[in-house]
């Protein structure tokens, strides 16, 4: 059912019908009512594709997800809840979210998948996830003058609109907490350093040691993959170092869960013989044994913020770059006791 047929049905022209449906002023009250009523009756809904073509707007925001994880998961829990609230926020402004993934083979800062999205028409703006310190995707978007929001800053902290967690502060406070509980042998399991957040967190770790007058041992700063098993294997190596750390701060809850099993293999009971902290405050934290102390980063609020930034930018508010850094909160549980 096209607008042409509807117009014929009503003995009106396409243009009048269109104006009536879109509440233009120069159409009489009676015909407007008549058109809208009839449209309702026969369930007419304008073809969104035609609208997009004419208006040059798609009313959609695109995101290309990182390649599936090793475990085959489409998306990590953190992004899951962030995107969840993003979708809800976008919906308020009539925006949709178009999701794609990278090819499995591609590295996650590959530009090819973004190029397709850039083609005017498919999406009006892009969300770039998990920025690298030096991110070609950001360069690409800036260069093509395409509206975008990033989750995560870049090294240059270019003047674009971004949302990010206060990673440095998050890990800083975690380490300070460990110090306050009597630890001086504190390890940090990080991830690949090309991620900008990884660098920020590492800075937080180093800074906290410094401010506490604790020397920095490079052996206790290790990198791990993001899976539980990655964390497990990394922790196995870490626990072999001499002296052994008495507290391990993990950059992910999954990594923390993996290190807990690694500890048990070393005969160390987490929460008793060794302190462990996670990051993300995932649902599992409550139900590990012992329950895992973790850092809440409020992905829901982040998603809302991103959504608001999108609507602002797409409303033409490009005056200045919108930016937001989200502070975190330590959720205290039983996995990191006071050192005895």
């Amino acid at each position: 059912m096209s607008i042409t047929q509807l117009a014929k049905d009503l003995n009106l022209s396409k243009s009048t019908v269109s104006r009536a449906l879109n509440d233009y002023p120069d159409v009489s009250f009676e015909t407007r009512e008549r058109v809208q009523k009839r449209a309702e009756e026969i369930g007419y809904i304008p073809n969104p594709v035609a609208q997009r073509l004419k208006q040059g707007k798609s009313n959609a925001v695109g995101v290309v997800l990182p390649p599936p994880l090793d475990n085959g998961a489409f998306i990590e829990p953190f992004y899951s809840t962030m995107l969840g609230s993003l979708v809800i926020e976008l919906e308020k402004s009539g925006l949709q979210l178009l999701v794609t993934t990278q090819k499995t083979s591609a590295s996650d800062d590959d530009v090819v998948s973004y190029r397709k999205m850039f083609q005017r028409g498919l999406v009006d703006a892009l969300l770039i996830l998990r920025t690298h310190s030096n991110d070609p995707r950001v360069e690409f978007a800036l260069q093509h003058n395409f509206p975008f929001v990033t989750y995560g800053r870049t090294e240059k902290e270019t003047k674009h609109t971004w949302v990010d967690v206060d990673h440095e502060q998050a890990i800083y406070s975690a380490v300070i907490r460990q110090v306050g509980r009597g630890h001086r042998q504190i390890a940090f399991i990080s991830t690949k350093s090309r991620y900008n957040y990884a660098q920020l967190r590492t800075e937080g770790y180093v800074q906290a040691l410094k401010d506490s007058g604790i020397p920095f041992y490079p052996r206790w700063l290790v990198e791990s993959g993001l899976n539980i098993d990655d964390g497990y294997r990394t922790a196995l190596k870490l626990l072999k170092t001499e002296p052994r750390p008495t507290s391990i701060v993990c950059t992910t809850d999954d990594i923390a869960i993996g290190t807990m099993t690694a500890c048990r293999e070393f005969g160390l009971v987490p929460g008793k013989d060794i302190a462990i902290m996670g990051y993300g405050n995932s649902a599992a934290c409550e139900h590990t044994s012992p329950p895992l102390t973790s850092i809440e980063a409020f992905p829901k609020q982040l998603g809302e913020k991103i959504g608001k930034f999108f609507t602002e930018r797409l409303d033409g508010n490009t005056s200045d770059a919108l930016q937001h850094v989200q502070s975190t909160k330590i959720i205290e549980r039983d996995s990191d006791p006071v050192l005895t």
Copy 2:
């Protein structure tokens, strides 16, 4: 850069350029080469929106996700990996996945979100997740003759294309396993029965008891929400029944994790004093204590199958309904010991 401009640049007509780019036979070799070379140079890519409008195809498949979970997650891990492999499979045929969510307020079989998708142009086909026994979305799609694939059967098992897990067999084999390990007091924590899979699993539970000559106690068949906490609370009630079950089969890993903590509160050590099984074989299973015996349902394969069904259907293969039921496998760990 539109095709019109490209044509002007080449001193050719739009139509010739279009034909050259799409490898039509009635264009000379030289001009074809010239056009394609020039298009490459200036990075011309046809506007997908215009293509969609003309061709009436969007080359996209839509899915509307259930409303965000109570914990705010966009998507459950199972769907996460299923959609991950689906996207990869669709990509092979040049198809995209368009993701939307329900309004938070809506029930997850609400048709309104689907109605938007139905509008010709946005997507060529729909994926309907987690069917109810009596699903208005399926009725709606059939009624409007819109191509779709469901994950999950319906009560009527209408002749449409679907993919589903062999839920009945899955739980049947789980219960039989418990019987084989000496249990005769076996509970099953299910979910809301309007989900078709819930009914199938319950049938599997009941049938297994019957075939084992074990009487059915209604008290040991309980319903729970999908979260860890829901499982926890449900298990608390279940453990108060007299007599107390010696084995609990859970319809979800999360529920199983919740029941494990519930057991501990009753002074029961999971894997020792009581047997527990999960479903889904999520990453956490390896790292609970004890590691959780669970049922692998192969979401990756399901996603691939769904993708193949989509490409077949969109290639016009509507001859007969495509259907696939995925068998499962029990992954044995330490949470369900032999009864002593």
